[in-house]
């Protein structure tokens, strides 16, 4: 008899467990349907003529910890919280997944046609594939309808369109970034360097001088790989042209062409000359930023998002101790005022789950992002800023100047690469760096993968 009781308890436990489990994954919870909302008191409370709709729960999937005020998820939740004070029954549920999981997560959700109302994703070829499924919202159309399109920065909008080969604007930016070299002024002075380099040759001189003075010239977060391919990309673009990588991916040029191999060779030579700090492949991106600020290395190629760190107290170099210069030119293929630009991680919206409630929320949140980010963190998010603070920090000013002076934009190394080519480019950059893979072999590998995936 006892056994029977035990077994029935067991079955009950298993079943409850399964159900309890279902509820915990917040993304699995279906958005509360409008019908099931309690209609009672709100009907009476709502002012006549403004019986808009029933607001509801919005699911937000991101790659950032929402407890960190410098992160975008914190910003969106903060503005949404303010929005929540103006309407009834509004709730936003945030799910935080690791950056290494976001692709997998989005592709699962897309496969079951269950994208959340709002999610972060990566622009470029991955976004394009998602657009092709027809599951995400056309932001340009929607926002024009809602009258909030004008809050979007024109530069950010055109950049985003360009990233998906101009099929349309299907994503909202979460940054308007430019990239280049950030340098430690004191270390430059110590090595007797007075001017920032304008050409690649001058740049090599600077590296050599620093090295001779016993200072590590460049530290990139090699463990994360993407900060390293950025440097290779910088020279490739400057010596071949702004569309160098796009052309190679589209088949208009080949990665095995001599100028591409020369770019990889340049990178390998810099590594062989120890212009990169020894052991670079063992540190991550965050550490490389800390090392620049602590004066353990002289230069870091990085995006303008680093101003968040530079403006903070952790910057040991002080409020004006770090300077910036754009990628030095190499020949005339890409001009001195052409910047590597991007829109950071982007936001996409489910087309299926878009309704009046989401529209109302959008109308509140997106016009406020520009000001929120500028006033709290001194960063640009790709939205118009109505309320520019009177005094911006030195670092924020650097970025503002660069953005306003930019003539053309080019993209990061993997922007137009498919998953596999991108993974190969990143995984093997450390071998190119250590000399275990030749520039020819590296480029031939990219070419092979690009061809295979184009087919």
């Amino acid at each position: 008899m006892k056994k029977k009781i035990i077994s029935s308890i067991l079955v009950i436990m298993l079943i409850t467990l399964a159900f309890a489990g279902c509820g915990t994954g917040s993304s699995d919870a279906p958005p509360a349907s409008n019908a099931s909302q309690p209609a009672g008191d709100s009907a009476a409370a709502e002012p006549a003529g403004e019986a808009r709709f029933q607001s509801r729960t919005i699911n937000f999937l991101s790659i950032w910890d929402d407890t960190d005020p410098t992160q975008d998820s914190y910003m969106i939740l903060d503005i949404s919280r303010q929005y929540g004070e103006t309407v009834d029954n509004f709730e936003i549920l945030h799910e935080f997944v690791g950056i290494e999981n976001i692709d997998q997560r989005i592709s699962i959700l897309a496969a079951s046609n269950d994208l959340p109302e709002i999610a972060t994703y990566e622009s470029g070829s991955r976004l394009k594939a998602l657009i092709e499924t027809g599951q995400i919202l056309n932001v340009e159309e929607t926002w024009k309808e809602l009258g909030i399109y004008e809050y979007l920065d024109d530069g950010a909008a055109s950049l985003l369109k360009n990233l998906v080969d101009n099929v349309g604007l299907y994503a909202a930016p979460l940054g308007l970034n430019m990239e280049g070299f950030w340098y430690h002024k004191e270390l430059f002075a110590q090595a007797g360097i007075t001017d920032t380099p304008k050409t690649w040759d001058e740049f090599m001189d600077v590296c050599q001088k620093l090295k001779d003075a016993g200072i590590a010239p460049i530290a990139q977060g090699g463990k994360d790989q993407w900060p390293v391919t950025r440097v290779l990309n910088a020279y490739a673009v400057r010596s071949i042209g702004n569309d160098a990588i796009t052309d190679a991916m589209l088949g208009k040029a080949s990665f095995t062409d001599p100028e591409y191999v020369a770019a990889a060779q340049m990178f390998a030579d810099m590594a062989a000359n120890e212009y990169f700090i020894v052991g670079m492949t063992t540190i991550d991106h965050g550490t490389s930023i800390a090392m620049l600020m602590n004066g353990q290395s002289a230069m870091l190629y990085n995006g303008s998002w680093v101003t968040g760190n530079l403006n903070s107290d952790e910057n040991a170099a002080g409020p004006e101790g770090i300077g910036f210069f754009n990628v030095p030119t190499a020949g005339g293929a890409s001009g001195p005022n052409d910047y590597s630009m991007n829109c950071g991680n982007i936001l996409v919206f489910s087309a299926d789950k878009y309704d009046e409630a989401v529209a109302d929320w959008m109308k509140y949140v997106f016009p406020r992002i520009g000001d929120h980010a500028m006033n709290n963190n001194g960063t640009f998010k790709g939205y118009k800023i109505n309320d520019m603070p009177e005094e911006t920090s030195y670092y924020t000013q650097i970025v503002a100047n660069a953005l306003s002076g930019a003539e053309n934009a080019f993209l990061w190394f993997e922007a137009k690469m498919d998953n596999e080519t991108s993974a190969l480019a990143q995984n093997n950059i450390t071998l190119l760096y250590s000399g275990e893979m030749s520039p020819e072999a590296y480029m031939a590998m990219l070419q092979e993968s690009a061809e295979k995936n184009r087919a």
Binding site: K3, M280, T281, T287, N419, N427, T430, E436
Partner: protein
Amino acid sequence: MSDKRAICLMVMPSLLIFVGIVFVPIVWTFVYSLYSGMPGFNFQFTGFTNYIEMFRNQHTMDSFRVNWRYIMIVTPLQVSFGLLIALMVHFSVRRNKTLVRTVVFIPTILPAVAVAQMFIKMLALIPNHGLVNALLDLAGLEQFIQPWLGQTSTAFTWLCVMDIWTAVGFHCVIIYGALVDVSEEIIEAARIDGAGRLRLFWNILLPCLKTILVTCLVFSFTGTIKMFESATALTRGGPGHATTSMTMNMYENAFTYNQYGYGSAVAFMILLQCIVVTFIVSKLGREKF
């Protein structure tokens, strides 16, 4: 003792869950391996194409090579170090045997991720020297200070060192247990016959320990062929693909590139290798004895 209902009640729940979660998926993996792409997305029956493709895919082949090199290095060393220490404990420690046994076993129980994180910090070069580089510095061996995990050759070596470090205590304890059971009279008799230390080991101890050594080898092998957790946590398979195992290759293909079919084919190959080697080893172990 043969109440049918009772038997059902007692065996059925575990049998169901076991078959459903362990055996059905194995068959399922094989079926998947005959398809290309991902379920619900370009999923097409392609027969044995994936298996043929596997031998042409350089990365998969590399992962097989890396994995087997790892097996050939780690498995024998785990067991022979274990044997060596067990012999030393047995013959040269008199007091504190239990203490030594208890202490050397500790690394076995630690989570692989924690151990790997510990080694990452021990081997660090920048921004601060880890334990290894700091000790080299202390010993005046500056020329050997290097980014241990940032170089193909040293990263693989340290992965092996780490996995030997974790398991050697385990094998030591097992072999020691068998060593204690070897009758002292046999050893004493051999000694009286004038057998030297090496002969004693070779002719007396080794035959007595053969079964347990084969067991250790099999056990170690089942761990090393699964090579995944320690390498993922220590190097994420890098630099390049220098420490990417078969399982990691499967994982990458399935979950990063969404090639479920191809990933399943790799998974099935792992199972086949596992079965074949275990069969051979246990056969060899039995024959010699």
